[in-house]
Structure formats: structure tokens, C-alpha cells
Symmetry: C2
């Protein structure tokens, strides 16, 4: 668990996109986002107060989160001095960078000296168990996609928001770096050792109240040759009661695999249900979540309406239209 | 790659079963098994010459393979002195033990001093790529099971033997510790990081002659809640042209999962084919391999005959009846 709230470090972000981790935290956990720290030349802006390290400490910040990708995989001297200052002022550091904080000798030494924690969320911090396949109490939804990067994290976060607004018990469960930084907790599933993948998902979604929903962030796709094993472990470790099908219309081919077409929503529904029912015979597909960011408002609405009619399932772009329909479908289960 | 031939170290094996790695090497790669080394009280016997380290070196042995499980996960002083002697005499060491040779300071220091290699086959020695899903030349068969430990390794090894006896080009591809020690090469798939599983299988089965068959050892089961993600990665990384369904009749429940029944062979056929055809639309199920070790000869033959009639697929216990039928089915593809 990463201690909250956060100071969002934007560094010298060359553009807004480079700071998408910070944006995710600000969008989904605004209470955690007390302020931002920008270096000269930073082109990203979360519209949060620019705080010095001392001001952040004064406002109760516990962790400096690196909310930006670094250039060329190097933690620059300009970054370093801020990170060291943060450690000295009493903050922990959290990062999803490929190159680990703990592998920087000066940061590691300073953290050790002062008793601070360096959270490298790209690698597991826990020795996960082997999955036991036992039925757990509480309900679970899993977002599954026709492809990678079709909006599975945003779908689960949007459904969490919609359910909480209705007073329902719901918890987003992060399975990737960005989701872990947003919520302060989760499993970096793509970095888990093969034998422990499904067990890590069981660990992430333990017994809970009968009317509580875990909303599990999906990864990869059952149809993606590179990552399907990760998705399979999510389905079998998650034992979902409900699946939401995630899709980006008009994608020309599977992400990173030019020789592979996307499956139809029908094919995803049929395969995912078969696989999920091995561990949970009552599993149902409850809705469809589209990423329509490449469409006009009218195109998006038309696509959702037509898909809803064709598939007989509530269909929305949750980021654009809200996830109420999906939340209602879960509540009705 | 582990250098061959081997001296099989049986240590103080309490029974024959504890030496099953050595037995596998002797059964499947008899040319590699030059001799055995037994300590006092050893209850296993491969019926190979008992050699001293010096005699083994004289006969051209390159590697001492630990062919036995150790008690309580400890490498005892009695073992140690033999292993050190082997390093000093010029041999490499290879082991599939959970506790790694490289974590024993005296072995690590001695190997480093003398330039020997310690092969801990339980963990990957290679940084595998992300799978690219591209079509490769050559043919591939994958053994898939209704459950774990139903004889997938033996099936692939038996088919290799039968194909080679017919003069066909075939290579067993190991994906587990025992298989790697038997052949000297392979991928310890259950220890690979999630994102690289399918890529490691592509790496294991590269482009080959058009009439060459890779016979890929299966792992886990698509129906096993704990390990299905590993199996999925094997199917998608292996891009099989042919599947052999492996099954142990009369198993009461999935291995380690008392709440789960075994799937039918029909269910395995249907799910495995759907999944394989995502990456290879021409994939076919060519036969069934049964582990009938709990049956009498007559029961085994009856079961195979009835299953063959029901499924319309050649059905054998390859260890008992040979794998000719399966080899013929592959050759006919």
C-alpha cells in the first residue's frame, strides 16, 4: 500500500500525454492529488497548486508520485535532486518507471538511511500464492477486451464511480502500473511469475461483503497472441460473476500484431463466457464498453445504439456517456 | 544448453520415485546417461555403471546432473563434497531443485574460480522476447490436457521416438524442469514472467524445415484454475498445427482442486481448438493420449477402443502401446 495523499511530480514533461499517470490520479482519486511539482520547461499541467516539497509536507502529503514518463529511461540529475529532497523531507517515493528507483544507488541509500519506502510498482512487492480456485464471498466484475488498450482500466474506474454514486459498495482493483499508482494498491500482473498469476488475482480480490463488487481492471485479450495467458489468469483467478466487453470500433488490427484482425464482440462474448464458466458457472456478460474517442458525438451514439440492439446488451462509452447503465446492470444481477 | 553426456547423481534417494528425473534421462536420452553416482543408502538404481567422478571424466562426461529430489530442500554436506569434486574434475552441474545451486556460496565460488557452469533449470537463463504472433516455417504439435500431470511430457517424448523411428524429422521441446534436464535445453515456462510467456514459446520453436515437427511439451490445462494462463500462452506462442488431447481416465477431480471436476475430452477438444485457431486457423486435433497406468492391460485397451470410436480419433496410451498411431496421424497432416 502506498501512503496517501500524493504530490504529483510532473518533472520536465514534454507534453500532456507524458503525464498520463498524473492525469489518471487527478481524474480518479482527486482527494489524493494535493498538488503538483513541475520543473522548468514542463509542458503538462494538472491545474493543481504548484507546491514546494516543504509546502507539500505541510499539507499532509505522504508520497511523491512520479506522474510522468522519463525520457530515454534515465532519471536525470534535475529529477534526482527533487527526489532526494522529498526523501529528506519525510516523503516516500512511488514510480511505475521501467528503470527502478531502488536501482539508483543514491536514492536507495538515502531511503535506507531515513527509513523511507521506494515503491516500484512495476514489479511485485508480494510473494503471491498459487491459486486455489475456491469460491469467495462478494461479487466480481472483470473487464475483458477484444484487444489490448481498448479502455479496460477506464471502464472499471467509471463503473466504480457510477456504483459509488448510487451508494453501492464497489472497489476498483488495479492490475497494472497506472491503476496501482492511482489507487495506491494492486497487482502488477504482467510482471508476476507465470505460476502465480491466477493466485495474485485471488489475493487481490479476497472474500468480501455479499453485496460488494470488486471491479477488476482487465489486461491484454484472450485473442491477443502475446498476452492472452495474462488475460486467462485474470478470468480464472478473478472468478467473475459479470463480464463487461470492451472494444474500440474501427481498429485496423490487433495492437502490435499487424497480421491479426480484431475478433467480433460476439466471438469475445462466447469465448470469455466459456472460460469464465469453468470457474463460475453463473457468470454473465452484462454490458459493452466502447472507446469511441476517434468518433464524433453522433457517431458514438449511433454506434452504441446499433450495438446495443445487435447484442441485446447495454452499450456505452463510459468515459463519454457515464457508466450508469453498466452499474445498473451489475446491481440488477 | 547443458553439455552432454551426463553422470546421473542419485545421491541418497530414499526410493525409485525420488530419482524420476534420472529415470527420465535414462529412458529418453540413453546416449546421455553414461553412468550413475550413488551415495550410501541410495535406494534408486538406473542399472547404469556406478562411476567415480574420475571415471566419468575419463568416459567423456561433461555434466553431473542431479537426478534426484533432495530431502527438505537442503543440499546436504554429503552431496556437497561430490558436487565440489565434480567441479574440480572439470564437470558442469545441472539441477532442477527448488533451492538453487547458485545460491550455495561454496558451489558458486568454486564454479566461478574454475570457470564451470551451474545450470539451475528451474529459472530462465534467457531474457525472452514479447511474442510477435508471426507465422513460422515447420510444423508444431502441442500436447494439451484435461488436467495437470496427465502425461503431456511423456506423450511428446513418445511421439518423438515414434516419428524418429519412421525416419521423420521431429524434436521434443521441453517446457518444464524434467524435460529440460532430459534434453539439455528448453524453457522453464512456469517460472517465466507473465508478459514473456508466449514469447518464450516462440523462442523455443523457431523457424524450421517445412517437414520438421516440433513436439511441444504441454503444461497445466486450459481447465485448471491455477495454471490455465500458462497453458494459454503455450497454445498462442506455440501456434500448433496439431493438438494431441491428454487424459487420465477416472481421476476424481482436478489436481489440487477438489471442487473441480475434469472436463470431458469433447470439452477440451472444442475449447483448445477455438483458442488455437486464433493463431493458426488450420489447427487440427489429431489424436488422444491416455495415461492408463491405473488400469489393467485389458481395461486400457477397452478404454482406448471405446474412446477412439466415440471421438473418431486415434487413441493410445503411448507409454504402454507406443505412439505409432499418433506419429502416423501427424505425418498424414
Amino acid at each position: 500500500m502506498i501512503e496517501t495523499p500524493y504530490l504529483l511530480f510532473l518533472g520536465d514533461a514534454p507534453d500532456a500525454l507524458a503525464a498520463k499517470v498524473a492525469q489518471g490520479i487527478k481524474d480518479w482519486r482527486p482527494d489524493y492529488a494535493v498538488g503538483q511539482f513541475r520543473l522548468e520547461g514542463c509542458k503538462a499541467d494538472m491545474k493543481l497548486p504548484d507546491l514546494t516539497i516543504a509546502e507539500a509536507v505541510e499539507k499532509g502529503v505522504k508520497t511523491l508520485v512520479i506522474g510522468v514518463a522519463n525520457r530515454g529511461g534515465v532519471i536525470s540529475p534535475a529529477w534526482k535532486s527533487v527526489l532526494i529532497e522529498a526523501l529528506e523531507a519525510g516523503l516516500d517515493l512511488a514510480s511505475g518507471l521501467h528503470n527502478l528507483l531502488r536501482n539508483e544507488p543514491d536514492l536507495a541509500a538515502k531511503a535506507k538511511e531515513l527509513g523511507r519506502t521506494l515503491h516500484d510498482v512495476r514489479i511485485p512487492a508480494v510473494q503471491y500464492p498459487i491459486a486455489n480456485g475456491k469460491k469467495r464471498t462478494g461479487k466480481r466484475m472483470l473487464a475483458v477486451g477484444t484487444d489490448c488498450s481498448v479502455g479496460k482500466m477506464y471502464t472499471a474506474l467509471c463503473v466504480e464511480k457510477a456504483m459509488r454514486e448510487k451508494g453501492l459498495k464497489a472497489t476498483f482493483r488495479a492490475t497494472g502500473q497506472t491503476g496501482i499508482l492511482i489507487t495506491g494498491d494492486g497487482v502488477p500482473l504482467d510482471a508476476v511469475i507465470a505460476d502465480f498469476m491466477a493466485g495474485s488475482v485471488e489475493y487481490l480480490t479476497p472474500d468480501n461483503d455479499a453485496d460488494h463488487w470488486d471491479l477488476i481492471e482487465g489486461q491484454g485479450s484472450l485473442f491477443h497472441a502475446s498476452y492472452s495467458g495474462v488475460t486467462m489468469a485474470l478470468v480464472h483467478g478473478g472468478q467473475p460473476d459479470a463480464l463487461v466487453l470492451c472494444h474500440e470500433p474501427d481498429r485496423p488490427h490487433m495492437r502490435g500484431l499487424p497480421d491479426y484482425h480484431l475478433p467480433s464482440l460476439e466471438a469475445l462474448r462466447d469465448l470469455a463466457l466459456q472460460i469464465a464458466r469453468i470457474v463460475n458457472p453463473d457468470c454473465k456478460v452484462v454490458g459493452i464498453s466502447a472507446n469511441t474517442s476517434a468518433m464524433t458525438d453522433e457517431e458514438a451514439l449511433t454506434w452504441c445504439r446499433e450495438t446495443e440492439a445487435r447484442m441485446g446488451l447495454p452499450t456505452v462509452d463510459p468515459f463519454r456517456h457515464g457508466a450508469e447503465k453498466l452499474a445498473d446492470a451489475l446491481a440488477a444481477l
